[in-house]
């Protein structure tokens, strides 16, 4: 699952590849894990100049990787052990997409990203790097 988290800890974007009915509880659990990991991310932000923060937290068999943009928008990926290279490449591609959306002066930076084109491109990036 991939989340973009705004400055007020609010989700700006969410993408989970497979959504079966029985996974609904799992989805909520995932959101909880990601939210809890935000504190770890906020600590890491001040320890390095990098945007890619690698793995910031672990839960059972799941791992949370994070990426922070210049304006401190946090990208969180909850996964089961994908390669660092593919995770970093995915984050970089989504960062570029995010910049294209947010530079619009009429874009509310605290509001969820609703552009269908953005969604399509993020899904395509996920397919490209995680398959």
């Amino acid at each position: 699952s991939f989340y973009i988290v705004g400055k007020k800890d609010n989700p700006l974007y969410e993408y989970t590849p497979s959504q079966k009915k029985e996974d609904l509880n799992l989805l909520q659990q995932n959101q909880f894990f990601v939210h809890a990991a935000l504190d770890m991310v906020d600590e890491e932000i001040w320890k390095t100049n990098s945007m890619y923060l690698k793995t910031v937290d672990k839960f059972n068999d799941k791992v949370i990787s994070a990426y922070v943009t210049a304006s401190h928008i946090r990208f969180m990926l909850l996964h089961e052990g994908k390669s660092e290279e593919s995770v970093k490449s995915f984050f970089l591609e989504v960062h570029e997409l995010y910049i294209k959306i947010m530079t619009n002066p009429l874009c509310d930076l605290d509001a969820p990203i609703v552009s269908p084109a953005f969604d399509t491109k993020v899904r395509a990036a996920a397919r490209k790097y995680f398959q």
Binding site: I45, N49, A70, K100, I101
Partner: protein
Amino acid sequence: TTLQTRTKPNIVDRPVPRGKSEVGLSAFCFLFSSMVQYLQTGVNSISDLEGKLSEAGYGIGVRMLEIVIYRDRSCKREIRVVPMLSLVKETLWKSMFGKAADSLERASDKDSEYMIHDREPLVNTYISVPKDFGNLNCASFVAGIIHGVLDSADFPCHVSAHSNPMGSEARTTYLVKFTEEVMERERRMTG
């Protein structure tokens, strides 16, 4: 015959502009002066007007930060005060005004205050302030941009523009006052 409609590509399909394009100074100043005049309606004081100008610049600052660092291709963020201010003084200024700001200095008595000096602020090129407007400085707009940059990178501060003309130069100093939160974090990172 069928009508051919040209579909404009979506913003996500277009590349991020490289930032080499320039806008005519007169066009920009015309737009800026219109903005100042527009913001004048519905404000009662000089500080209110400066506040509105500053607000107008804030959103630009947030977006400029992302764009400027992206174009740098370094994927690096600044987490210390001085490198962050250097980024503003050099990279941001070059991107907006074509050249770096004149100097960056720390206030002698307070380590939480810094000043960025600009000998001839571009935005004030054709602005003349009547005597009854006191010490209004329209470069408050640029102060707002600086504030947006620093604030979004989690360096909360107050930024204000002050005119200190020297001879024929319309010098402006941007005073950046960081909050105690920032100074404490800096101390922790140094110590």
